[in-house]
């Protein structure tokens, strides 16, 4: 198992009143096998982002434990975690002043934090990562000058440069148009197949998750509801209970994965 969560619980301290209702994560348990792509889905505020923060030690669980390759996460220091787990965030902050190559090289930091400049080995790894993500030709360009899709791939390259065992993707298709969504799906599956990278993918896009992931974990209000294959998890009654609206689930003719459609409320009235 790359990652194992056992009975994990967490609550944001009351001094951070970001939510009207205090948020709690409870009884979270799952395992991620090597080479697997696990999707974490659920409504807003279900706990998906909190889960990412727990996996990367930005937050510490209040209950239970998380194991990384069999070792308790709490015993690893930040750099050790970063050498094994890489997060692909939703983007980079605006007005990011660096080039693609400089961004990707940042991914080498956890491997030698004390080094002032990256060495030749670091640059080689970075090159490989940029090639794998398809941004090698863009290496010298400033990040601000790239399109959304290119920027996403550059960020993936940076995560790959960390040489992680586990790639965590936070809403990889947010802000991407259809073509780039398709490209992202292809890229992720290729990385998974060719490099054997295990992935944990957090998404609110059910159909993307269904296409790309081997298994899905459905969260609602901080609790796990279902864990299984996309067919097992994406069943209409389950989704309706969790999302609170009417849905219709079909099987895609092309890939035979489930496709979820919302039944729009107005349509029935007419």
């Amino acid at each position: 198992m790359i990652v194992e969560a056992r009975g994990v619980g967490f609550a944001y301290p009351p001094s951070r009143p970001r939510r009207a209702h205090p948020f709690r994560l409870a009884d979270l348990a799952f395992g991620l096998a090597p080479g697997e792509i696990l999707g974490v889905i659920g409504p807003n505020s279900a706990g998906k982002t909190t889960l990412i923060r727990l996996l990367t030690r930005v937050l510490e669980p209040a209950a239970g434990e998380i194991l990384l390759e069999g070792r308790p996460l709490a015993r690893l220091d930040r750099a050790e975690v970063a050498r094994r787990v890489a997060v692909v965030p939703q983007g980079v902050p605006p007005q990011f002043p660096f080039s693609v190559e400089e961004l990707v090289l940042m991914g080498r930091f956890p491997h030698a934090p004390a080094r002032y400049f990256e060495d030749a080995a670091d640059r080689a790894v970075a090159h490989g990562a940029m090639a794998a993500a398809g941004v090698l030709e863009l290496a010298a360009l400033p990040l601000d000058s790239l399109s959304g899709g290119e920027r996403q791939r550059a960020v993936i390259a940076r995560a790959l440069a960390q040489e992680p065992r586990l790639l965590v993707l936070d809403e990889p298709t947010a802000h991407l148009d259809l073509r780039h969504q398709a490209e992202a799906a292809t890229l992720l599956r290729r990385l998974n197949r060719e490099r054997g990278v295990s992935m944990l993918l957090v998404s609110h896009d059910l159909n993307f998750a269904a296409e790309v992931c081997d298994r899905l974990l459905l969260l609602a209000a901080g609790r796990p509801v279902r864990l299984g294959t996309p067919e097992e998890v994406l069943e209409a009654p389950v989704l309706e209970a969790v999302y609170g609206c009417e849905v219709h689930v079909e099987k895609s003719a092309a890939s035979r994965r489930p496709v979820v459609q919302v039944v729009w409320p107005d349509a029935r009235g007419r």
């Binding site: 930040r78 970063a82 997060v87 990011f96 660096f98 930091f109 956890p110 002032y116 400049f117």
Partner: protein, 337 residues
């Protein structure tokens, strides 16, 4: 070109510029001394008690050292603070620290400490005390332990404003004869320092520089956002505190030994960023040398333009700094468009 090579090239060029400016500064000044006499004094061939020896070795040389150190320290503090707050307008004086240090010195001068045997030592101690109080206030307001960078900027501005008003109060209570000196000092007072003070200045500037330099690579990662940096292995809270402490130490040293000087921490980092890019591993060392040249040039101008009188160096940095800054702003925006 690899970053290491670029750093070496940048430092090489900037060092040459610094040496050129320093050489110029050695030959210029209110006392009309011929270049040959200056060289003789440097070589030790002029009498120890001759005018050229005293002026060159006891007045100009120490002053060049002070100006260079102050310029370098302010520029590095500017780079650090801009990276820390991810705000290109951040300037060391916005830290609030220079306001506190200036207030400390104004108090000391109005108590007559500038004259006594305690003299420079007393003044410096008061400056650092004021700086520490201001830095502490900013640190506590901004969230002590978990510094919030937005609050940091606001807290710095507020603390700085507070001390500026406090200084105004003290000035209004002083009698006329002391007024002139204090007001001139507030415009920046680069002067000759005795060797002990110079050593202390160099030491504290070096400490601040070291603190920032050691974390230059992590500062780059901070541009990704604090959470992303943490996920890469950076201890963001510890980094913020150390950078803040380094920038505060650098700024406090300058104010304590050379009075408050503005614009250097804004102009030099931006100019260098246009030439070298945003990598702090290059910017921090380059800023130290570049800032030294800049302030040294400004000071040489300040003490030569109206010779035998002198202008405060703050006048030059503001007059030259403001238009340069506007020009930089416009060209940078044009590039972004």
């Amino acid at each position: 070109m690899s970053p290491r090579a670029r750093l070496a090239a940048a430092l090489g060029v900037l060092t040459l510029v610094l040496l050129a400016v320093a050489a110029l500064a050695l030959f210029l000044g209110g006392a009309a001394i011929s270049p040959r006499a200056v060289l003789a004094a440097l070589a030790g061939r002029a009498g120890a008690q001759s005018v050229e020896s005293v002026v060159t070795l006891s007045i100009r040389l120490p002053r060049i050292a002070v100006a260079a150190l102050a310029g370098g320290a302010l520029a590095v503090a500017g780079v650090a603070f801009q990276a820390l707050t991810r705000n290109p307008l951040a300037e060391p004086s916005v830290l609030g620290v220079s306001g506190g240090a200036a207030f400390g010195v104004v108090i000391a001068q109005s108590l007559g400490l500038g004259f006594g045997v305690l003299g420079a030592a007393g003044l410096t101690a008061f400056a650092f005390a004021g700086a520490v109080v201001a830095a502490g206030a900013v640190y506590l307001i901004a969230g002590a332990g978990r510094l919030s960078v937005q609050t940091l900027l606001l807290a710095g501005v507020i603390v700085g404003l507070f001390f500026a008003s406090a200084i105004t109060v003290v000035i209004s209570l002083l009698d006329v004869n002391r007024l002139g000196g204090v007001i001139y000092w507030l415009l920046g007072n680069l002067g000759t320092l005795p060797p002990a003070s110079l050593g202390l200045f160099a030491l504290s500037a070096a400490a601040g520089l070291g603190l920032v330099l050691v974390h230059a690579r992590e500062l780059n990662l901070l541009a990704l956002g604090e959470e992303a940096a943490q996920q890469l292995g950076v201890d963001a809270d510890r980094l913020k505190i150390r950078i803040f402490a380094g920038a505060a130490l650098l700024t406090a040293s300058v104010v304590a030994f050379a009075g408050p000087i503005g614009f250097v921490g804004l102009i030099v980092p931006h100019a260098l960023r246009m030439l070298l890019g945003a990598d702090n591993r290059l910017l921090v060392p380059a800023a130290f040398v570049g800032g030294a040249s800049f302030l040294l040039a400004a000071d040489t101008l300040a003490r030569s333009i109206v010779a035998p009188g002198e202008l405060s160096v703050g006048v030059i940095t503001s007059f030259c700094g403001a238009p340069v800054f506007v020009w930089l702003l416009r060209t940078r925006y044009r590039a972004l468009l």
